[in-house]
């Protein structure tokens, strides 16, 4: 089956703007740096959680391949992630078991920063494509 997936993502201020725009989300911590730093005391612009979860989902789908299906995903943000941070997004298989005639893999998901911290963790359950019939 597929090997571990590792993606590199750098959430730019443009990506933050576009995500906020498509969601009609005016939360200033995502685009107003003076507000994020001066009023709320963050170290910069905050990456919205749904951008981080999108990265995790992309990694899970890359692991599964186009014919696989992500059935369920959970994630937790443990620390804020700032814009322009270089991130490594990973999906690794932890187990595979039968589920109603198909096989379902459990994946450990995580987003690591360059300092070696893991601000986002998650788990996905992926249904593997049907295998071709045997001889």
């Amino acid at each position: 089956m597929t090997g571990d997936v590792r993606l590199t993502k750098v959430p730019s201020t443009i990506a933050l703007f576009r995500m906020s725009a498509v969601m009609w989300n005016a939360h200033r911590v995502h685009y107003d740096e003076a507000y994020a730093i001066g009023v709320e005391g963050h170290g910069g612009l905050l990456v919205p959680a749904n951008l981080l979860s999108s990265y995790l989902c992309e990694a899970a789908m890359a692991w599964a391949g186009p014919a696989g299906r992500v059935l369920r995903m959970t994630f937790r943000t443990r620390a804020p992630v700032l814009a322009d941070t270089v991130l490594t997004v990973r999906a690794q298989e932890t187990s595979v078991g039968p589920d109603g005639g198909r096989r379902v893999a459990e994946l450990d998901l995580g987003i690591d920063d360059a300092a070696g911290d893991t601000p986002v963790t998650g788990t996905a359950w992926v249904r593997l494509p049907a295998e071709p019939d045997g001889p």
Binding site: K9, A15, R18, M19, A21, V22, M23, W24, N25, A26, H27, R28, V29, D32, Y35, V39, E40, A49, N50, L51, S53, S54, Y55, C57, E58, M61, P66, A67, R69, V70, L71, R72, M73, T74, F75, R76, T77
Partner: protein
């Protein structure tokens, strides 16, 4: 002030049209150019009827309404009505995580009816902040054929 030990029964509903332009803008914002979102043929080859929406698109369109005019936003830019009434207008908000079940594909052009309700609300001591409140909300997105396509459980961490 509501009693933190009792779930707030309030429910919000909205219609989420899975607009291909919005869904593809979402994909580009997430720097995810998966052909399943852009190419009907690629999606059919993978067993879908046609191109699908990025799975997190539905989970991210938290309150698909016009929202209030700018004068009615909170000072941090958040629309106050998005959150249940147990969240005070001046509360600091943190996303506590999400659990999502993808029960049926969401294709571009689908229409989802989303219903969100508060299913739990509790308070926990916090060393750093004294006490934190946790508001757990469940959203259910049902498609135009009456099929429950996505179920989302959001935990909101509230400092107030």
């Amino acid at each position: 002030m509501s009693d933190p030990s009792r779930p707030d029964p309030e429910v919000r509903s909205y219609t989420l049209p899975v607009d291909p332009v919005a869904a593809r803008r979402f994909a580009y914002a997430a720097t995810d150019e998966n052909p399943l979102y852009f190419d009907d043929e690629a999606a059919r080859a993978a067993g879908y009827e046609r191109a699908i929406a990025p799975p997190m698109f539905v989970c991210s369109m938290f309150d698909h309404t016009a929202g209030p005019p700018e004068r009615d936003l909170r000072p941090d830019g958040v629309a106050p009505g998005v959150f249940p009434s147990v969240v005070r207008p001046d509360a600091a908000l943190l996303g506590g995580g999400q659990e999502v079940e993808f029960l049926a594909p969401v294709h571009l052009g689908d229409t989802l009816e989303v219903t969100r309700s508060v299913v739990d609300h509790y308070r926990r001591p916090s060393r750093q902040f004294g006490a934190l409140e946790f508001v757990v909300m469940e959203s259910r997105a049902v498609n135009q054929d009456g099929v429950l396509a996505v179920r989302i459980v959001d935990t909101l961490v509230v400092r107030q």
